[in-house]
């Protein structure tokens, strides 16, 4: 009897039921986003058009990246309060390195009254590619430093990243005391529009006119980038031994140690990956706005919204459960809500109030489960 049950249908159904139950937060976030986004497009005069999608994609991308960034340390039950700062710092670097100036851009450093020339950063397409790599490396390096301070300095992540965040913001301010710099126009155009525009800008697929290309040409580049980063970076990481060690550390650090898992490496990897994702966000933000801006309030807002996205996306702040994919949807939900303000013409003065109320309502509704808890001891785990 039992043997057969294991092999046949009911067990498959059991498996699906178990998976859904274990991921109820993510499933809810995905469904909620779909409903909200369809409603938004229905209400929008130009709803379901490529133009609206492109605009939304541009507005969503940076926050989605920061949400992913925040997820990884949270899974290892550490918070990263520096993601906004890393984003800002990388953006400021980008505004020097991605100028696309023909013949290269001269770099120099003014510090303590000294004027140091650092040579010329290459121009042209190779220079831009190199610039992108350098920017992402800076983001990852910042994350690596966070990880090392947490692991080797044995400082609580929330405080460690609060401090390193201040340092990164300081560097950003040093680079860009006032907003400025520039980004290559082609790069800006290619990455912040549809796939068709991208192909036309970089001259592939007959400048985007190839007939096979037409059915996908409307897709916004930011969405493609988001999916690519999720599939090529997050998914392999999650399925790697190190990625699972991150979940294990967040779930029960002592047990993870006893099981011989590389705890230190897992934590450092989590923060490094967070830095990388935050760097992606900062790079895109700089490309999108064509400038570098050491905006402290903006960095703070992004950090806080990244935490909100993570929670709305079904990841527990206690660590161990959740996924960066859920956080992407959490970020998109947050953004779609602000899109609604535009549609319904809500007075800008009331927007912060509504945003706050919606955030509170969302987390409170999510928390109503506690009223169903019959064993109050379960509330404390």
């Amino acid at each position: 009897m039992r043997q057969r049950r294991l092999a046949l249908g009911p067990s498959m159904l059991d498996d699906v039921a178990i998976r859904v139950r274990q991921n109820v937060g993510i499933v809810t976030a995905v469904l909620l986003f779909c409903v909200l986004y369809v409603l938004y497009n229905l209400a929008h005069p130009k709803g379901f058009s490529s133009a609206v999608l492109v605009q939304n994609g541009d507005e969503i991308f940076a926050l989605a990246m920061l949400a992913m960034a925040q997820t990884v340390p949270v899974l290892a039950s550490g918070l990263d309060l520096s993601v906004g700062a890393v984003m800002t710092m990388v953006g400021c670097f980008a505004s020097y390195l991605l100028t696309g100036t023909a013949g290269g851009a001269p770099l120099h450093l003014d510090i303590f009254g000294l004027h140091l020339s650092l040579g010329t950063f290459p121009g042209g397409i190779s220079g831009i590619l190199l610039g992108i790599v350098v920017c992402l490396a800076i983001g990852a390096l910042a994350g690596l430093i966070n990880g090392c301070v947490v692991v080797y300095g044995r400082i609580q992540p929330i405080i460690a990243t609060l401090a390193t965040g201040a340092v990164y913001i300081g560097i950003a301010l040093f680079l860009r005391p006032t907003p400025g710099g520039k980004i290559d126009e082609d790069l800006n155009w290619a990455l912040t529009n549809s796939l068709g525009d991208f192909a036309a800008t970089v001259h592939i697929f007959d400048d985007g006119a190839a007939s096979w290309f037409a059915p996908v040409a409307w897709i916004p580049v930011p969405f493609v980038l988001l999916v690519l980063i999720a599939l090529l970076v997050w998914v392999p990481f999650r399925r790697s031994v190190l990625g699972r060690a991150v979940y294990a550390v967040g779930s029960a650090e002592g047990a993870a140690y006893m099981s011989g898992l590389p705890i230190d490496r897992a934590k450092i990897a989590a923060f490094t990956l967070a830095g990388f994702f935050a760097g992606c966000g900062g790079l895109f933000l700089a490309i999108q706005t064509s400038s570098g801006n050491a905006d402290i309030p903006q960095a703070g807002a992004y950090t806080l919204n990244s935490i909100a996205s993570v929670v709305i996306g079904g990841t527990s702040l206690l660590g161990g459960t959740g996924s960066a994919i859920g956080s992407i949807f959490g970020a998109m939900i947050l953004r779609v809500i602000s899109f609604f303000f535009r549609i319904f013409d809500i007075a800008p003065l009331l927007q912060p109030l509504f945003e706050g109320l919606i955030l509170l309502a969302a987390v409170s509704i999510g928390a109503l489960g506690v009223l169903r808890v019959r064993n109050t001891l379960e509330l404390f785990r």
Binding site: R2, D15, I18, R239, S240, S259, R374
Partner: protein, 515 residues
């Protein structure tokens, strides 16, 4: 090496192992050896050095002095994974599972099957199914999160995880303490098979009958020293206990007073909760110790939690001394004179990093405060009294409670509640993982409290304990009390028969429930 136990063909040999923690001796010059194909029991009170010994063998801590030989060559393990790599695998008392990961993830956590460098989820699942089948527990779905499994199933997963590491030397540290009796049988069978395959097994348990049933050889430790090693049947239980505590023990359990009819202190009528507790009616009189027996997970713990106000949505009546009580929270239960010694002293009973004194007074601060201020003189007086009354062995009352041994920690939990002068004391398996000496002190104390007029409801997984301590035992099955045993009826046979509900769970009865 004077006094070394040199054994022919020893697989693991320790010689002259010493270890100190912050100047306190944990192990002193220990020589020890165990062989392939033998189950070797390690006995001793808490604080005798067993845990340290195991931790050293398993690579969790490093010895200060001494050497370790495995299969004839010198080894020293810097980490648990180094020990695992050498075939030394330990199942720890504190579970080493990650609650948010699935059973399959946990079983293969250290070296998962991989494809293209990434974890192969399917192969991993098959592996978990195989290993669980080897123990005979196919009912655990490997996709389940460990968090969602009951404690007894988690321990099975823990064992499966250890098996998956292909141990040459398997160490079980109280690994069966949370298992149901059916599972214990399965684990015994598994151990017998491993033994026949030539695995060396170290077995640590406080349950003497388990040791008697399983072990081929036993070593007794006391105060960080190896006292004696002997083969099965060479020593009687009484002799072993004497070796462990180093003094004679007359009787294990304090005598029970003659039964007189008593007024019920605690009365439950038709208590039900969420299908886990089913119309429970029970009386506990002042001066009475009533046991809760039965298989693990039949609602005994829920019943205690319900009485203490932890569970929501209870129906039925609870009366304390003829006054109806609605235990809506532990605070309410406390003010009704109810105390609970919870299941897990480390997470539910104590604030481990806080001082002994802070832990002792936390439930009775109202009594030692004048207005909003805590009266420090009264506080230290109360702490002193409590420590003296329970003979808690401490350095200073300002030490962190985490520095105490398990038995003394449990005494602190109990002492904390005695300071509130409770009329009803609920005990949730209070002797789990506690050494023989402290156990006996706790039994005496329970009887003393009952004699002073307290009503005690006592859940234990150890039938022996129930028989020895209780005036009456209520056996639970599937959320109901199926039988109350008293006086001469109180025998192991009767308890087991009732626990399996042999006479009550006739097929007709089961059918009626589903009809």
């Amino acid at each position: 090496m004077p006094g070394a136990v040199v054994t022919q063909g020893a697989f693991l040999e320790l010689s002259g192992i010493s270890k100190r923690y912050a100047g306190v001796r944990a192990l002193e010059g220990v020589d020890f050896a165990c062989e392939r194909g033998k189950i070797h029991a390690v006995l001793g009170e808490n604080g005798a050095g067993k845990s340290t010994l195991i931790k050293i063998i398993a690579g969790v801590v490093q010895p200060d002095a001494g050497s370790m030989r495995l299969a004839g060559s010198d080894v020293s393990f810097a980490t648990p994974s180094a020990a695992n790599a050498a075939g030394v695998v330990c199942i720890f008392q504190e579970l080493s599972l990650m609650p948010d990961l699935s059973v399959a993830d946990n079983v293969s956590i250290a070296s998962p099957p991989r494809r293209f460098g990434l974890i192969d989820a399917r192969a991993q699942r098959r592996r978990a199914e195989q290993l669980l089948a080897e123990i005979g527990c196919e009912d655990v779905n490997p996709l389940m999160r460990v968090r969602d499994l009951p404690l007894s199933r988690r321990q099975i997963v823990e064992i499966a995880k250890a098996l998956g590491k292909k141990p040459q030397l398997l160490i079980l540290d109280e690994a069966t303490s949370a298992l149901t009796s059916a599972d214990v049988e399965k684990v015994y069978a598994m151990l017998a098979r491993l033994k026949s395959e030539g695995v060396a097994i170290l077995y640590i348990s406080h349950r003497m009958h388990e040791v008697e049933a399983l072990a081929d050889r036993a070593s007794v430790f006391r105060n960080g020293r190896h006292i004696e090693t002997f083969d099965k049947g060479r020593r009687s239980t009484a002799e072993i206990v004497q070796l462990m505590i180093g003094r004679d023990i007359a009787t294990q359990y304090p005598p029970k007073p003659a039964r007189t009819s008593v007024k019920p202190m605690l009365a439950l009528d038709n208590l039900s909760w969420e299908g886990r507790l089913d119309r429970i009616s029970l009386r506990v009189g002042a001066g009475e110790i009533v046991g809760l027996g039965g298989l693990d997970g039949q609602g005994q713990k829920s019943l205690l939690l319900a009485l203490f106000g932890v569970l929501r949505g209870i129906s039925g009546r609870v009366t304390v001394e003829d006054r109806e009580v609605r235990p809506g929270s532990p605070a309410v239960a406390k003010s009704a004179g109810i105390a609970l010694v919870p299941e897990d002293r480390k997470t539910e009973g104590l604030m481990l990093p806080m001082s002994i004194s802070d832990n002792l007074v936390v439930a009775s601060l109202d009594a030692i405060s004048t207005g909003p201020l805590v009266d420090r003189a009264k506080e230290s007086e109360a702490v002193k009294r409590a420590i003296a009354r329970l003979q808690i062995k401490i350095g200073a009352a300002s030490d962190a409670v985490s520095t105490l041994s398990g038995g003394n920690q449990q005494k602190v939990v109990l002492a904390k509640w005695l300071m509130t002068e409770p009329r009803i004391i609920l005990l949730n398996d209070p002797t789990r993982g506690i050494d023989v000496g402290t156990k006996q002190e706790l039994y005496r104390l329970m009887r003393e409290l009952a004699d002073q007029g307290a009503a005690i409801l006592f859940y234990s997984t150890d039938y022996d304990e129930l028989i020895g301590c209780c005036d009456r035992v209520a056996i639970m099955y599937d959320g109901r009390i199926v039988r109350e045993l008293e006086g001469d009826e109180l025998t192991e046979t009767n308890i087991i028969a009732s626990a399996l509900n042999i006479d009550a769970a006739a097929p007709a009865g089961t059918g009626a429930v589903h009809a």
